[in-house]
């Protein structure tokens, strides 16, 4: 089964289970059971070329309780949250919302391995907001991500390219090394971050 450029659904599916469906029903408003597999989500998705599961397959597998397969797939991390799928679904399934839920769940279970750089980028982003007292420091984010890349999978061409780009942006006043000043409401920001802190 090959369609729209995505790879075949991997065979290691477990027996069908309603557990995931029940959990989504309990914890969220994500109604995956409404899907009738029209594949409109996958047809409109701009990133299928980089996915291992198509968006409609993600919904189907959620319905069948294939949590392991979903949490370890690449699709949830290459999804750019463009909301085309959610917008076009005739049954109002919030497909992009399901992707978000799966990302969060994968992170909680330490399973972001299929696209570590995307999960890391998001983590560094939130870290850069918290560390600078409420607004993101783009320079902090870039620095942190560069270190991660150097450590995990160095790509010298890419690094050099980013370095040159950074210089050009600085010259044009579009990248500030000094981060934003902490907000007056920094304590409120810390409080907002508290649950996230304890969890990660």
């Amino acid at each position: 089964m090959k369609n729209l450029g995505a790879e075949t659904v991997r065979p290691e599916s477990g027996p069908p289970s309603a557990e995931l469906l029940e959990r989504l029903g309990r914890e969220t408003e994500l109604a995956v059971a409404a899907c009738y597999q029209c594949k409109k989500c996958s047809s409109g998705c701009p990133l299928t070329f980089a996915m291992d599961l198509l968006p409609d397959q993600v919904i189907r597998l959620a319905l069948l309780g294939q949590e392991e397969q979903l949490l370890s797939c690449r699709t949830i991390w290459v999804c750019s949250s463009c909301q085309t799928c959610t917008t076009r679904c005739p049954n109002r399934v919030d497909i992009a919302g399901v992707m978000d839920w799966l990302k969060e769940e994968a992170l909680k279970q330490g399973k972001e391995g299929s696209a570590p750089e995307v999960a890391a980028f998001h983590r560094f982003f939130l870290e850069a907001v918290r560390a600078h007292g409420g607004r993101v420091s783009e320079a902090h984010l870039v620095r942190r991500f560069t270190l991660f890349k150097l450590w995990r999978r160095p790509d010298l061409g890419e690094l050099l390219g980013n370095f040159k780009l950074g210089l050009k942006l600085m010259k044009r006043g579009r990248l500030r090394l000094a981060g934003p000043r902490a907000l007056k409401g920094r304590a409120e920001i810390d409080k907002i971050f508290e649950p996230y802190r304890t969890q990660t």
Binding site: L47, C82, T86, F121, R172, P180, G185
Partner: protein
Amino acid sequence: MKVSYYPGCSLEGTAADYAASIAAVAPLLDLELAEIEDWNCCGASAAHSLDRHLALALPARNLALAEAAGLDVVVPCALCFNRLKAADQALGSAKKARQGLAVQGGLKIWDLLDYFTQDIFLERLAQKVIKPLAGLKAVGYYGCLVARPPAVTGKVDYENPRNLEKLLEVLGGSPLDWSFKTDCCGAGLALPRPDLIDTLGQRLYDRALQAGAQGFVVSCQMCQANLDLSQERISRKSGRNYDLPVLYFTELIGLALGHPQAQDWLAKHLVDPRPLLKRLGLI
């Protein structure tokens, strides 16, 4: 007229040109932008991807600040707009008590393009154009999140928005039709997965060229960054020499209204729009 203004983090950084052009053209339209004091990051893709509490709590603080000011809120960043709208919807109503976040809900939140292309402003603009953008052929590129999902954004024309085209016409330019105006540029994947941006960006350049465009007009700073900052790399990798400036609609307003600083904003772009504008006699 006075509105609350939520610029968002990138307007203090990579989108400094957007910020400067907005600050310059608002007074030309008799609009006062009152920046929300002490606003914080909306959480962006990172928060809604990794933590559903942060995804609501970060924008909620801004909503509370905006509610205290009591004015409509105008947002230039598509993602911030989307996150503020989503939080406003999720937290207004009975749910707010459960979340423990003090938000009334129902605040009028505008994306900047929608605000600037209301009839009243288009009429004002039409009267104030002194340097029509004659001969400038461009495609309007809206990106994703000002339009989608309509259940959050409240947009009616989410598949085929037309306000960039309407605006460009008023400014004397030539908007071109194309089918990719709301396709995704890859957004926040630019740093972690530049390979994906290569594919998405090249697709957009090729389609814009097929439509006969000399450049893009955008209203989202993420789209601008991805199309502008990646163009040299994509050109190199693909062996094509793309030269498609990516202009903010506010920069074009400034140009057409003869704002003296317009060239300073354009100088911040990586794909320099000035040679094209000189060729057309617009600067």
